[in-house]
Amino acid sequence: MQAILASLISFLPRAIMQGTPLLYGATGEIITEKSGHLNLGIPGIMYVGGISGAAGAFLYEHSVDVMNPALAILIPLSCALVGSLLMGLIYSFLTVTLRANQNVTGLALTTFGIGIGNFFGGTLAKLSGTGETSLSLPQTKILFKTSLPFAADLGWFGSVFLSHGFLVYLAVVIALIAAFVLGRTRVGLQLRAVGENPATADAAGVNVNRYKYVATCIGSMIAGLGGLYYVVDYMGVWANDGFGDRGWLAIALVIFAVWRPHVGILGSYLFGGLYILYTVINIGVAEQELFKMLPYVVTIIVLVVTSIREKRESQPPASLGLAYFREER
């Protein structure tokens, strides 16, 4: 019994750490989808968020001898935000202004983002002159991972809930704010209307394109933070393709959370736990991949259940994926 409890206490924080990038990605994607845009570029945007942050941190680490802790946090943070914002702008310009196909644009952006990440990751690693293929950010990681000083004194509670860096809590706070804005404010009502029925929102005097742009860009920036968290906090190292399929997992999480950011919080930790479940169960390498499928299986089950129940509120925004043009005949 003691042993099981101990392993649970060591498992839960890891599930939370695994879940955090997913939570950022899913919150960002939910905000974007609520404006009617299915941004399949999220995996690429998270890569770009990661590499921008890593590049900022790397350049700062190598340019000064003694790092200023505030700058060491702010530089990677703003780099990640700017990088993912640019990706969001590309996506919005193509799908909102030019009304390009959202799926094609999104997939192209994912390919593009992964390519950018790997290209700059490789180049910077070469610049570091260590001969390694990965980009190591030891000092930045220490800063980002700083947790509350008394966390260690609080036993299991401290190690499960308080032992994380600030990005873990920021993800929860952003998700809660997103849930509040979507459900309880005029801006949220208008954003949801844009995603459900843009013609209606337009006729009601809502600036549809502005909502779409802002939602997509904010969503991208939030998703980009997920990439940043993975690189500077969770790993402390940029390795090419290291982020794996977490971007897709975040999109699956959107469906699991039935487009509700606060449901996404628990969902992300569940997904994170399922994703690393194979590490606590003693199995071979071949079976590991089967276990990594679990989050997707759960998502499919949720899809089946919501489809059977046919509750209108659990459906995706009605004009998700459709371009809007006011004077269309």
Binding site: R186, L189, A193, E196, N197, D202, G205, R312, E327, R329
Partner: protein, 515 residues
Amino acid sequence: MNYAIELKGITKTFGSVVANDNVNLTVARGEILSILGENGSGKTTLMNMIAGIYFPDHGQIFIDGEEVVIRSPKDAFQYKIGMIHQHFKLVDVFTATENIILGLKDQGKYNLKKAAARVKEISEQYGFEIDPTKKIYEMSVSEKQTVEIIKVLYRGADILILDEPTAVLTPQETQKLFAVLRKMRDSGKAIIIITHKLHEVLSLSDRVSVLCKGKYVGTVNTAETNEMALTEMMVGKKVTLNIDRSAPKDPQKRLEVKDVTCLNREGVKMLDDVSFTAYSGEILGIAGIAGSGQRELLESIAGLQKLSEGDIYYHNPKTGEVDDLRNKTPMQIRDLGVRLSFVPEDRLGMGLVGNMDIIDNMMLRSYQRGKTMFLERKKPKNLAEDIIKQLEVVTPSAHTPVRRLSGGNVQKVLVGREIASSPTVLMAAYPVRGLDINSSYTIYNLLNQQKEKGVAVIFVGEDLDVLLELCDRILVIGSGHITGVVDARSATKEEIGLLMTKTTAVKEENENENA
């Protein structure tokens, strides 16, 4: 005196199509102006420019004598202009209140309860009945319309534009709406209403403006005009607006529907123990509030709907045999000569493929008949060209995608194709939905011709005046029950309207007497 709205020389083009050409229009406060015109005459486009959905290429808009520029719906609200669109602009998963306050910014804190109270207040002031917390997808059409109207009133609109508001209402609901509109007029609001129904124009409005092919024809005082004169203005030539209803010749039993019950996906009974007989050489009308089971009924006959109980017998005029359609596939039923032309609200939903041209849409019915692996294109091409010529379909060519045709022309293509196959049973649902008067009569005459050829025609219609003029018998359906069968030659609109709102079944006792 300054008019509430004055339009001068408004022109709007979409690509090469001129939707409005130098249109002038005025409406004063305290008056109801009707706008009349055929399909594609640019009525809705014109109104959309006042409401800020479209922006005119040329021309000026004056409000109370001052020139204004309306670039967006928001600008329109500022000038207190509110438009109730033909296709409701409501978010389905929102409540009535949420829809009503959508887009409003100026009223301080976001407070749904306060807004709901205000909605209630407005609805009581004008005599509406509405539950502010009800979701739109749970509402009936007339409730949705009420939400639309309250939405513009909530914004303090005093210039109201209604685009075909009565198209989906029962006579009773229409009367209620008109009472409200008159009340608004008397309180000094300016009201513009677009409608196809001439008798509504005459009973409701103070003046009528007529558009024809995007051009402004003229304005007349309602008191000084009549149906014939208006139609002439609208079409630009004299037309005869009567349907020559002949007595059914040699009626034979053609289709016998017996105790049919069918359920929808949620397990709710859409048809409950429905029985009737359709005879050859007669037009059987079906009247009812939208969504009372008309669609399910036609689909059951066409084999597209699973029956949970009951049988449908088809009396084959060629062989004299009686077939139970229940055991047949939709394809077999079609080959027997039972044809369905269903025009849903979006017109293209069933029967035609929007992105395909007219010829390819003809082929949807015939492609399986080819003997080689290649498609036979010659016959469909001839058929398409025949239909275009006979029914006066306005299209650049037979190769134009159906999606680009205007609503009336799409319907002509659909009905034309079904008739071309010389059916024995022709089911037409809402074939004149949204059509102007001239095209409507083309369709009515087509149905009449089919009847005279001995086809059993089943006609699901919305306009009770037409049902009474065109049909021989009218079946009234209410919540999936047959609530009555009346003789179209002697029944009145009110009688049918009452039956439409009933929800309990009556058995068809007078069935055989009428036959």
